[in-house]
């Protein structure tokens, strides 16, 4: 068990090093930072001097190791566009994206599992089929369209919910949260539904098909033959057995909620990392792009590590 965790952590570190290499390579292969930093009136002496100061004359491997070491200390360099440390900029933007992703994930997971179980048990019911049909629409509409439709309906026509921004936020240390004000909470509703809708339908359909598969198993028949009530069979015996594939998909999807919040953030003018990244691309702000890439990969790897550990917690057959 310990060696399993140890092996998974080693693998995770390897993945992060490779991603770090890609992020670092952007500096070398996408434009020359010296060109960006010195103006038109530069001399060869200026170039050589700055190159020496920044350590760019050193071998690739040495530079890479330096990059990784400073990244470990949270130092990702200075943004070309804003002239401020990248770590500081990200720290300002991260709470907005993480809160949005968390609310979407809770929304997608809770509603997805509940509807999945419901549609699996009431396979022939009218409501179940209606939900399934509507979910197909949810999957096939692009995210930005859903966002725009929601804004049109709830902000423009009904005027119930704000159409953009985070509302008022409260600063708790370095973290700004929208959870503590009513305008912050109402501002979260539309973007998190937009972001989580696809994941919700995906989880629902997955739970439904897994559930229907499990309900055919011998141990469910045997549980019925022992006179256990349907409620116990559904939630204790069947649901737990559907969880392994559901956790796999949810883990991957949670990662992409954070990584691909870009579209939702653009539609709702949400001041998160996605919006920051879009701007960074427009200005070829390589330090920001590199740091964003590293941050997302740390999250993906971390979530997958947790998923692997959850497998073991759920399925005793993996504990060898």
């Amino acid at each position: 068990m310990l060696s399993y965790i140890f092996r998974r952590i080693l693998q995770s570190i390897l993945v992060l090093l490779v991603v770090g290499l890609v992020a670092f390579a952007m500096f070398t292969f996408i434009g020359d930072p010296i060109d960006n930093m010195l103006g038109q009136e530069r001399t060869q002496d200026d170039i050589d001097r700055l190159r020496g100061e920044l350590g760019l004359d050193q071998p690739f491997v040495v530079q890479y190791v330096k990059f990784i070491l400073s990244a470990l200390q949270g130092n990702f360099g200075v943004s070309y566009e804003q002239g401020r440390p990248v770590a500081q900029i990200l720290a300002e933007r991260a709470p907005a994206t993480l809160e949005l992703a968390a609310v979407s994930a809770v929304f997608a997971l809770s509603l997805g599992v509940v509807l999945g179980v419901y549609t699996a048990i009431r396979r022939k019911g009218f409501v179940a089929n209606l939900v399934l049909t509507l979910s197909l629409i949810g999957v096939s509409l692009p995210t930005f369209l859903i966002g725009i439709l929601l804004i049109y309906l709830f902000s423009v026509q009904l005027d119930w919910l704000p159409s953009f921004g985070r509302g008022e936020t409260v600063a708790l240390g370095g973290w700004t949260t929208g959870f503590l004000t009513s305008s912050g909470l109402t501002a979260l509703i539309l973007p998190s539904i937009t972001l989580g809708l696809y994941q919700m339908t995906l989880i629902m359909r997955l739970v439904r098909s897994e559930m229907m598969e499990v309900m055919r198993q011998d141990y469910i028949r045997f549980a019925r033959a022992r006179g256990l009530p349907e409620r116990v069979i559904t939630f204790r015996h069947a649901l737990k057995n559907t969880m392994v594939p559901v956790i796999t998909v949810t883990g991957l999807q949670l990662g992409s909620l954070i990584a691909f919040a870009i579209i939702t953030e653009t539609v709702f003018q949400w001041p998160g990392m996605g919006l920051l990244f879009i701007n960074a691309i427009q200005f070829v702000d390589i330090p920001v792009m590199a740091a964003y890439l590293m941050l997302i990969s740390v999250m993906f790897v971390g979530i997958n590590l947790i998923v692997d550990l959850l497998y073991v917690a759920i399925d005793p057959r993996l504990r060898t």
Binding site: Q217, D218, F222, A225, R226, G227, R236, N241, R317
Partner: protein
């Protein structure tokens, strides 16, 4: 009036095309302290009777007519809630496959106490105590530790004991056991049947024992009901039915059981209302290469074969633990010989077969085929030739055929792979092969799921013959089949062996079958061969204790053959 009375039960499954009557006017009853056997081939409707009693018919199945009463109380037609109260509390059920009837994610304690508390009004502590007593009662050693383990930590036999403990949770009056020992090997089967017999004698419960195995019927039941295509053909005391069966179907069913005490030339088939095409295997020898089978050298030489599996992984070499599945096994197989390999599950017999076939890497020892060292998988030249000369037939005809390939593609694949024939000649050869295993030309265009288990095993045999091999490994080829189908498949194998001079390694846990099939028999126990003897000698005068034990555990069916006229034609 009995404990459970079934009167004129008819169960229908409405399908799109027609109404399928699975059970047609079946009547039977169980008395307290009695085991009533319900026997028939697969598809006879015997499991459907059990499901109908439990109210667990798969939709769209429904009870069309008839009555089921439990202690004179109407059972059929109760609503779901009343039915659920009866299930588990008064009538319990044991299923066939102990590997799949327990929830893999809950401990034995959780599954037991949950069932106890649903069915009996007791406190958590009392339920816990009862769970422990139940494990003790069904003969599971060290119940305190075992309670907190998960199903995968139990062997097949132990799991079936847990299943029985679960069925006993609420002191039921009737237990329906649906093929409770079919998935277990002979030694475990005897233990489980003994356990059921003890429970019946001790608690006066009534048991309906559903099985296709006449040996189990002869060994355990007091009365027996024989079913054929949804109808009861005969019912009465077991001794009487076995000694003087009146119905032709019962007679052929009894005659089809392989005999442990006598060698016959062919396996008797069930020749009642069946559609069993006979076919001429002689055709096959026409374009079959002739091998010299009289040179006196063994075809296959196995020396000190060893296989270890990792039991516990570790980064540190001294932290690793290994399990020796096969331990220095040596034997020879002469050309044209059939060598039987018997032993209980886990004895390593399938592992030996897989190493010989090159599916597992050997950890020690050598395999030589016709003078070539074939256990060295890196020698590509030798491997290519070897893989054409040896073929394997697996136990499960459902998973050993690719469901997305047509039958003609399945049979043609080995020919294409080894480039044995020009492409234009392949269809002719495939048709020939299918014809020779008794499948018509129309079979070529179908997919595996359109065939029954026996027919699929024929396809597997046709595929194995496609490369014209000299050596065939049969790993429990008939364990998944009914007794009548088993006879057909075994007869095919026997014919092949005789007409083509095939050499066969025949793996089985069914001793009567091994006796009929094999020239010599090797008995394996815990990875070692404990006895290797001429088949007649082994069965008439076994020398090793384990062999004697195995022979004594085979269901005692001798009395079934005393009756004159039961000899096969």
């Amino acid at each position: 009036m009995g404990l459970l009375d079934i009167t004129d039960l008819t169960v229908e499954f409405p399908t799109r095309r027609r109404l399928f009557v699975a059970v047609d006017g079946v009547s039977l009853d169980v008395q307290p302290g009695e085991i009533h056997g319900l026997v028939g081939e697969s598809g006879a409707g015997k499991s459907t009777v059990g499901a109908a009693v439990m109210g667990l018919l798969d939709p769209p199945g429904r009870i069309a007519s008839g009555n089921i009463t439990f202690k004179n109380q109407q059972v059929s037609g109760l609503d779901d809630e009343a039915m659920r109260a009866l299930r588990g509390r008064k009538i319990s059920m044991i299923f066939q496959d102990p590997l799949t009837s327990l929830n893999p994610l809950l401990t034995i304690r959780e599954q037991l106490t949950e069932t106890i508390r649903v069915n009996l009004d007791v406190s958590a502590e009392d339920a816990d105590k009862r769970a422990r007593d139940l494990l003790d009662r069904v003969g599971i050693p060290d119940p305190d530790t075992r309670l907190d383990q998960y199903p995968h930590q139990f062997s097949g036999g132990m799991r079936q004991r847990v299943v029985i403990a679960l069925a006993l949770c609420s002191e039921p009056d009737v237990i329906i056991a649906d093929e409770p020992t079919t998935a277990l090997d002979v030694a475990i089967q005897a233990q489980i049947l003994d356990l059921i017999r003890d429970l019946v004698d001790e608690r006066r419960v009534g048991v309906i024992l559903i099985t296709h195995d006449m040996g189990v019927i002869a060994d355990t039941t007091d009365r027996v009901t024989v079913m054929y295509r949804g109808k009861v053909v005969e019912t009465g005391p077991t001794a009487k039915i076995l000694s003087t069966p009146e119905h032709a179907y019962t007679q052929s069913l009894i005659a089809a059981v392989p005999r442990p005490h006598k060698k016959v030339h062919r396996f008797p088939r069930i020749n009642y209302g069946g559609d069993d095409p006979d076919f001429a295997i002689e055709d096959l020898s026409r374009n079959w290469p002739q091998y010299d089978n009289v040179s006196g050298d063994p075809l296959l030489q196995v020396r000190d074969l060893t296989k270890r599996f990792v039991e516990k992984r570790s980064i540190l070499p001294w932290g690793r633990r290994y399990f020796t599945a096969v331990d220095q096994v040596s034997f020879d197989i002469m050309p044209g010989e059939v060598l039987g390999l018997v032993g209980e599950s886990g004895s390593g017999k399938s592992t030996v077969a897989r190493m010989i076939a090159g599916l597992y890497k050997v950890d020690g020892g050598t395999v030589e085929f016709d003078g070539d060292l074939v256990s060295d998988l890196s020698n590509r030249e030798v491997q290519r030739a070897y893989r054409q000369e040896i073929q394997m037939i697996f136990q499960d005809p459902f998973s050993s055929l690719n469901p997305r390939m047509r039958v003609d593609q399945i049979v043609a694949e080995p020919i294409r792979h080894h480039r044995l024939l020009p492409t234009v000649d392949i269809p002719v050869r495939v048709a020939e092969l299918l014809d020779q295993v008794g499948l018509g030309a129309e079979a070529r265009q179908k997919y595996p799921h359109e065939f029954s288990g026996g027919q699929r095993q024929r396809i597997a045999i046709a595929r194995a013959l496609a490369t014209q091999p000299r050596f065939l490994i049969c790993d429990e080829p008939t364990s998944a089949l009914d007794v009548s189908i088993q006879a057909q498949i075994l007869n095919i194998l026997k014919d092949l062996q005789e007409h083509l001079g095939l050499t066969i390694l025949f793996i089985s846990h069914a001793l009567p079958v091994v006796r009929q099939m094999c020239d010599r028999v090797a008995v394996m126990q815990r990875g070692k061969i404990v006895e290797l003897e001429d088949s007649e000698t082994l069965f008439t005068s076994p020398s090793h204790d384990y062999t004697k034990e195995l022979l004594s555990l085979t269901p005692r069916t001798e009395n079934m053959y005393e009756r004159p006229g039961s000899e096969p034609k």
